[in-house]
């Protein structure tokens, strides 16, 4: 058993263990144990990866394991990681770990809840370790489908509507993606003699330009739906608002990153020429995502909606940066994925905890919480500051890198768009500070709130894990950006070789 497959095996074993349990009280302990183990695995993976790189291993992907699966179609189960996937795996294990603790008090069908949640995580881990498009797609769909039950059963508000909308839209995205992947597969070998789904092998050849023009948009939009690309983002606010806490965390924190990661690793990496040609269309769409998402967040009164729109804005920024196709911007995109993943998970965890106490998510019904529940409130402020890009926290590193990189783009059009998109920083500040002002400061408006309890131990674990990571990236971004940058290098080389500016 190789180390990477363990990332899928451990969740599956955890699920099996949960299913075998008779006592539902132990379910969360088993889940926490399984995902804690996963977190340790992720930490040791980072260590192993860095030491392998340090020892001078310059392969594009490390820890590659290959098993032939469907021989006649040359479908393999192939796993391997580079710095980017290692970073994404660490992010996922952090968020899942925090998510388990954030849903400590789920009572209704507890066993089923944790099984679905970990199943979702299995899909995400599998996606990040795969370098074969078939298994990647399999895990991608596996990650999407438990969402339906998670939102439908344990959600709030118009949960059935939101769950259906989210599932169908994401599956619609994967429909486009499937056609795109088949198109890549059948163009993966110039004489069709040895077709392959392996990303590394496909990246060695150049897919014919007409095929790229056809399949790049399909693949990019397919992943873009999950990455909240305008106008396919509408599932996100409804879905996030209705989902239970841990699911919002996992979904905004990790699942949306599948979109960004896939758009970059599959669509742009394998079809760089079409990406270059068509980038202006998608740049426009992603810019709309960024700015419109931020404005949307201003207009909302429900905390979860605010955060959902803010996710649309931040995830739009990821796709925006990826499309700039230069080292700095892409580096920023990856850091933004990590940073946003942690930060938004933190936000959703805190919102869940507030909602559990106040039973409302409307900002105008709350006020003065800072005096009553100081721990949670301070955490909320930290999350807000990270979101608006305050130096010292992860958001600053990510956004700074993205905008510097985007402005390096040689064409005037892209620079102008960059300037427009930068305005989102200001708008973000507006809605974050407004929420903090109304929610936390000022007089207490509702006397029922005066005896609310502050965070419990499991909530503290969840929150502190995330805040620690956000601060770690903000204070010491270089180990992360070096790890990512080194892995980005060969990808950028390939893109630049095909698209001389």
């Amino acid at each position: 058993m190789d180390i990477l497959s363990l990332f899928v095996v451990i969740p599956v074993l955890t699920i099996t263990a949960i299913l075998l349990l008779k006592d539902t009280k132990q379910v969360r302990m088993v889940s926490a144990f399984g995902m804690g183990l996963q977190l340790l695995m992720a930490a040791s993976l980072v260590f192993l990866y860095l030491s392998a790189r340090h020892a001078g291993n310059t392969d594009e992907m490390l820890f590659v394991k290959d098993h032939l699966w469907f021989k006649s179609l040359n479908i393999h189960y192939t796993v391997g990681v580079d710095g980017i996937s290692v970073a994404m795996i660490s992010l996922t294990s952090l968020v899942v770990f925090a998510g388990i603790f954030a849903s400590w008090e789920v009572e209704f069908l507890r066993k089923e809840f944790f099984v679905s949640l970990i199943l979702l995580a299995t899909g995400v881990f599998g996606f990040f370790i795969s370098i074969d498009l078939f298994t990647m797609f399999l895990f991608y769909e596996l990650a999407v489908i438990p969402m339906y039950l998670l939102i439908g059963i344990w959600g709030t508000g118009p949960k059935e509507y939101s769950a259906m909308k989210l599932t169908l839209m994401l599956m619609g995205g994967s429909a486009l993606l499937l056609v795109g992947l088949l198109g890549i597969y059948f163009n993966s070998s110039p004489d069709r003699s040895r077709l392959t789904f392996n990303i590394l092998e496909i990246s060695k050849i150049i897919i014919p330009l007409p095929a790229q023009r056809l399949f790049f948009p399909l693949t990019f939009i397919g992943f873009g739906v999950l990455g909240a690309l305008f106008p396919f983002h509408t599932w996100s606010p409804d879905g996030h608002a209705s989902a239970p806490t841990a699911v919002s965390m996992l979904h905004a924190g990790v699942l949306m990153k599948l979109g960004g990661y896939g758009a970059f690793r599959v669509a742009i990496f394998l079809m760089p020429q079409a990406a270059h040609e068509l980038s202006w269309i998608f740049i426009i769409l992603t810019s709309i995502s960024v700015v419109y998402g931020a404005f949307g967040a201003i207009a909302q009164k429900d905390l979860k909606y605010i955060n959902a729109y803010s996710s649309v804005s931040h995830c739009g920024l990821v796709l925006f940066a990826v499309l700039m196709m230069n080292q700095t911007a892409m580096n920023g995109a990856i850091i933004q994925m990590i940073s946003h993943g942690l930060m938004t998970a933190l936000f959703f965890a805190l919102i869940g905890m507030l909602y559990g106490r106040t039973h409302t998510r409307m900002i105008n019904e709350m006020g003065g919480l800072m005096k009553i529940i100081p721990f949670l409130s301070v955490c909320y402020v930290i999350a807000g500051l990270a979101s608006l890009g305050l130096p010292g926290l992860s958001g600053f590193v990510a956004e700074m890198t993205i905008f510097v990189g985007a402005f390096q783009h040689p064409e005037l059009f892209f620079r102008i768009v960059t300037v427009l998109v930068v305005s989102s920083i200001v708008i973000t500040a507006v809605y974050i500070l407004r929420v903090i002002a109304i929610l936390l400061l000022g007089p207490t408006t509702n006397e029922h709130f005066e005896h609310l309890p502050d965070a419990k131990w499991f909530e503290k674990i969840s929150v502190v894990t995330l805040i620690g990571s956000v601060a770690a990236i903000g204070l010491a971004p270089f180990w992360l950006s070096t790890m990512i940058g080194a892995s980005l290098h060969p990808i950028i080389e390939k893109i630049l070789a095909l698209n001389p500016f």
Partner: protein, 473 residues
């Protein structure tokens, strides 16, 4: 008839023996223990299914009218597995008092249709093919009217016999044109003589329409929903899985071996009909309340997806069609098995009745969910792999647009499958179906279905084994 010949048509001979022994058994059976005849018949059929997997002899009989090859034996074995599952699933229902007078007839009729299907699949001549298709159809009409005192069941029988008579007429008309223009009914001869003569094309279209009735391809699907709803659940599952599968098997063989010359023509035909079949099947399924009607329309749309495997005329296409039908047998029988179990225990067949089912019968709900996800093509169950290969087969020949339409259709289908999942898991109910424990045969059959749904996908060996027996144009 020598032993060698017997071995070549082993499947048919064994089935005939089985049919006769079930018939004779009734005479000598103790009338008080009549129900044990069910066990006898099911075991007999299980033995036949196992014998079917023993190494087979290839060859042809009756001057080439009957052909046995690896591919055809594989198809028969797949059908045998399906029929065995249907038989096990029917045990509970057959044991009911109202059916005690007609147990033998059930087995006799089912086995007769299977004999017909086997002859149809092994046909090397259009006459044998036609005899097979009739033998496969007429007893089913009797089965559809099995609950003959129930109006709907009797109506289903009549509808089925009338519409299949019409389709047989059209089919025969097409065959007569083919005979008239080629001077032969042998598959090999016809293939050689076939050209782009417009009368021949017309003959082909008539032939295809006749087959479309059997597979219930739009626009020849109108009989399906009523017949499925009226028939007893187990007959409906038989109709939707076995009959459809057998007709698709022979259609793919005939298209690939007899009509390769007019491939461009049948590709256009399939292109249009598959889009219509998927879309209309899916759109109508959304509105259904009765689960049998619901699964009827879902099975119409499934036939539309399967046509995608036929369109390329490639080896991968044939592999994916056979593989998909195997997967489809397990998935659809899984879904029908749950419907039958609940219908037998409570008589309820509507989606609304399933509200809150998970809280009272979690295992049945999980099996239903698994089966529906497999039908919708959600990983990691086998339906995902099946659909993926069908789409790959069509994409191999450049039908990307068709694949896109098909995948978008799977999204529509996911919507209505999720409606059932929603009813079971999410919607709360005042009076849900009460907790009950189904008997051993039902649980056993459902267990096999679940195993099939799960294992078929991951075990690439099954796919590769099918591929080794498939061929392209």
């Amino acid at each position: 008839m020598s032993l060698g010949n017997f071995l070549i048509m082993r499947h048919e001979m064994l089935l005939i023996v089985a049919a006769l022994s079930v018939l004779i058994a009734e005479i000598f059976w103790d009338p008080d223990k009549k129900k044990s005849i069910i066990l006898f018949s099911v075991l007999l059929f299980a033995v036949i299914t196992i014998i079917g997997f023993l190494p087979s002899t290839e060859g042809s009989l009756f001057g080439g009218m009957y052909i046995s090859s690896g591919t055809r034996v594989l198809m028969k074995n797949i059908l045998n597995i399906g029929v065995l599952l249907v038989l096990i699933q029917s045990v509970t229902w057959l044991k009911k008092e109202e059916n005690s007078g007609k147990i033998n007839e059930y087995f006799l009729l089912i086995i007769s249709t299977l004999i017909g299907m086997n002859f149809m699949i092994s046909a090397g001549h259009f006459l044998i093919f036609y005899i097979g298709i009739e033998l496969a159809t007429i007893p089913i009409a009797a089965l559809a009217a099995y609950d003959r005192y129930r109006n709907k069941s009797a109506e289903a029988g009549i509808k089925l016999i009338l519409s299949s008579a019409l389709s047989s007429g059209i089919l025969l008309y097409g065959l007569s044109m083919i005979y008239g223009t080629t001077g032969s009914m042998y598959f090999g001869e016809v293939a050689k003589q076939f050209g782009n003569n417009s009368l021949q094309i017309l003959g082909f279209i008539f032939f295809f329409s006749g087959m479309a009735f059997k597979i219930s391809i739009v626009p020849f699907h109108l009989w399906t929903a009523d017949v499925y709803e009226g028939s007893p659940v187990n007959i409906t599952s038989y109709l939707s899985v076995i009959s459809k599968g057998a007709a698709l098997f022979i259609l793919i063989i005939i298209l690939f071996t007899v009509f390769p010359v007019i491939m461009a023509t049948w590709q256009k035909t399939i292109f249009v009909t598959s889009i219509l079949t998927m879309t209309i099947g899916n759109l109508f399924a959304i509105r259904q309340q009765n689960l049998k009607r619901f699964l009827a329309f879902s099975s119409i749309s499934q036939a539309g997806y399967i046509l995608l495997g036929l369109i390329g005329g490639n080896q991968l296409g044939m592999t994916s069609v056979i593989y998909y039908i195997l997967v489809y047998i397990f998935s659809n029988l899984g879904a029908f098995g749950v419907v039958a179990a609940i219908s037998n225990a409570t008589g309820k067949e509507n989606i609304d009745d399933y509200n809150g089912l998970y809280h009272t019968n979690p295992k049945l709900s999980l099996i239903m969910t698994l089966a529906l996800f497999s039908l919708a093509g959600i990983p990691p169950v086998a339906g995902f792999f099946g659909k993926f290969f069908l789409f790959t087969a069509a994409a191999q020949k450049g039908y990307y647009l068709l694949v896109l339409i098909a995948v978008l259709n799977t999204i529509i289908s996911l919507f209505y499958y999720l409606l059932v999942v929603k009813a079971m898991f999410i919607v709360k109910s005042e009076n849900p179906i009460e907790k009950f424990r189904s008997d051993f045969p039902t649980r056993f059959a459902l267990g096999i279905c679940v195993a099939g749904i799960v294992i078929n996908g991951f075990a690439s060996i099954i796919f590769e084994a099918i591929r080794n027996l498939s061929f392209g144009v």
